[in-house]
């Protein structure tokens, strides 16, 4: 399963000794890792380990207290959040963060924000000045994303009334609309049943393999993590305790203790033979 991504390729993302403190709480301590171009990279770890905090540092919500984050070779530690979309980072949120009163379509169109050029000066006289053309052009691309994620039937629905699973999908669509090089997914499968997880897994794989996006994912479902990630990092109490291929990481006794608990029925799922 291991990725064909050799180390020769420069990593798309590199965290260097990132630490993050909130008052007395040490959310992250000296975390370093690299995400290679084109891979699916997962972060796992117990609740409160600092996974979301790490993603927040990458997407700019939080600024690391110490350390640096490089993206595509450039240091983005101090780049403001709003500029990271243009840099090429998109994300979804652990607790849904859609624009509840907008339609699904508009939600996704907001994802195009940094790609659109026409502001209010030219937007107000819509028919003159090309705003209309631009809208149509992007609408076409957005429809492709909608098709891909199979949410055609709700494109005009108000996002706030959708069921949980659909909202998650819309959120993914919105992140994809950004045309990111790296997409950060914070527990994309939480709250989904098996079937939906399967769908979501398929979307993620497609994004990765066909749309060419690098994926950084936080997920608690070990089945998913095992199956679709190339490499896994484990955080515990804000520190990196392991990194490597899924198999290697899950075999690590430290990880088993901290994250999965002693080998018993929870883990036996993962130990089952996988029909390939």
């Amino acid at each position: 399963m291991a990725a064909d991504t050799g180390t020769a390729v420069a990593p798309i993302l590199a965290a260097e000794h990132v630490s993050l403190r909130f008052g007395g709480v040490r959310a992250l301590t000296e975390v370093s890792f690299e995400v290679r171009r084109g891979e699916v990279f997962s972060i796992i770890g117990p609740n409160g380990a600092g996974k979301t905090s790490m993603v927040n540092c990458i997407s700019g919500r939080y600024r690391p207290t110490e350390g640096r984050i490089r993206f595509d070779g450039a240091d983005i530690t101090r780049v403001p959040t709003r500029k990271r979309a243009a840099v090429g980072i998109g994300r979804t949120f652990q607790n849904l963060a859609l624009f509840g009163h907008m339609t699904v379509l508009d939600n996704i169109m907001v994802g195009r924000h940094h790609l659109l050029k026409h502001g209010f000066w030219t937007g107000m006289p819509y028919w003159l000045g090309g705003a209309q053309q631009e809208e149509i052009r992007h609408r076409r691309e957005v429809e492709e994303i909608i098709d891909f994620l199979e949410i055609q039937h709700v494109r005009k629905a108000t996002a706030g009334t959708l069921s949980y699973g659909l909202r998650k999908r819309v959120e993914l669509a919105r992140a994809v609309a950004l045309k990111p090089k790296l997409i950060l997914l914070d527990e994309p499968m939480a709250g989904m049943n098996l079937e939906e997880k399967e769908d979501m897994a398929r979307f993620i794989l497609d994004l990765n393999e066909e749309w060419g996006m690098t994926v950084l994912m936080i997920e608690h479902d070990m089945g998913v993590v095992m199956d679709i990630s190339h490499r896994v990092m484990v955080l515990d109490f804000g520190r990196k305790i392991a990194e490597g291929t899924p198999e290697a990481v899950l075999a690590d006794p430290h990880v088993r203790r901290a994250y999965l608990g002693e080998a018993d029925e929870v883990v036996h799922d993962l130990d089952e033979p996988v029909t390939a």
């Binding site: 927040n56 919500r61 949120f93 652990q94 607790n95």
Partner: protein
């Protein structure tokens, strides 16, 4: 520099400011329970003052009886308002509720003028010694009394919100009504309680101001004065409200001093608190004591 005048002005500011503080507290109470900014706060003062005045002059009740009646009336008033107007709005966006309080304000302002006329009416004399000399400043006895009341009310509020379970329930309701309900909190009851308390406390202030200046619809201006006070303190802080009130009171008086001696613009007394408000917000977006929103994704 005229130190004795400045001292007197400061003292005067503190005394009036304490009253602002009382009104600000009752304002904060509603905010804490429902995130609603009550634009009818001034009208609560007004209604309370008129009712008390009515009891004292038309029914010739002794002050204490009229005052107690007023408090009872205002309790009822707050509850009825809540039941009739605000309960149907539970679950609606906060701005709708705010707008409803604006509607209430407009309504009661006009209603009071309609019933009681537009002329300021004096209270009968209540205290045998009408004023007391405090560090060279002649102060009305009621004002001093109100100072005592403010301290009491403030202590009561502080206890209520941190130690009592109803205080907690109120905060929970403000945060998320659905969650509060799921915990067994009756949102309507919480609101009724907060409106009743708020109405009563404002009425106390209304009566005090009425005794000092006479009752007129201008009393409702306290409802506006309270904004700089609560913002300075932070919308959801009881202690902040009182401090904010005191600051605004002193500020007005100092502004008057500045104006009379140097600027001669003639408007600083009334406008200075608003400049202060803007300045404070630029430095501290949540006022001096307000709690910051939690921004976590």
């Amino acid at each position: 520099m005229d130190w004795s005048l400045l001292l007197q002005l400061t003292l005067n500011g503190l005394i009036v400011g304490a009253l602002y503080g009382v009104v600000a507290m009752s304002f904060v109470l509603i905010y804490k329970a429902s995130q609603v900014v009550n634009f009818a706060q001034g009208e609560f003062l007004l209604v309370g003052a008129w009712v008390c005045w009515w009891m004292l002059t038309e029914w010739q009740l002794p002050f204490w009886a009229g005052f107690l009646f007023t408090l009872a009336f205002m309790t009822l008033f707050g509850i009825i308002l809540q039941v009739v107007v605000l309960r149907p709005l539970i679950g609606e966006p906060v701005i709708s509720v705010i707008m409803a309080t604006i509607g209430l304000g407009i309504f009661f302002q006009a209603l009071m003028k309609w019933i009681f006329g537009v002329f300021a009416k004096p209270f009968p004399p209540i205290f045998t010694t009408e004023r007391i000399n405090l560090l060279g400043l002649e102060v009305q006895t009621v004002y001093l009394l109100s100072l005592g009341i403010s301290v009491l009310i403030m202590a009561g509020f502080a206890w209520f919100f941190t130690a009592s379970k109803h205080g907690l329930a109120m905060r929970a309701t403000a945060f998320d009504q659905q969650v509060a309900q799921s915990l067994g909190v009756s949102v309507p009851k919480v609101f009724a309680m907060s409106w009743a308390i708020s109405a009563v406390v404002s009425a106390v202030a209304g009566v005090v101001v009425g005794v000092v200046n006479g009752v007129s619809s201008a009393l409702s201006f306290y409802g506006i004065k309270v904004f700089p006070a609560v913002i300075l303190g932070g919308l959801d802080s009881v202690v902040g409200a009182v401090l904010g009130g005191l600051i605004v009171g002193v500020l007005e008086n100092w502004a008057q001093y500045l104006d009379a001696n140097w600027l001669n613009w003639g408007n600083m007394y009334s406008i200075a608190p608003f400049y202060a408000l803007i300045l404070i917000l630029l430095v501290k977006p949540y006022g001096l004591f307000g709690t910051k929103n939690i921004e976590r994704v």
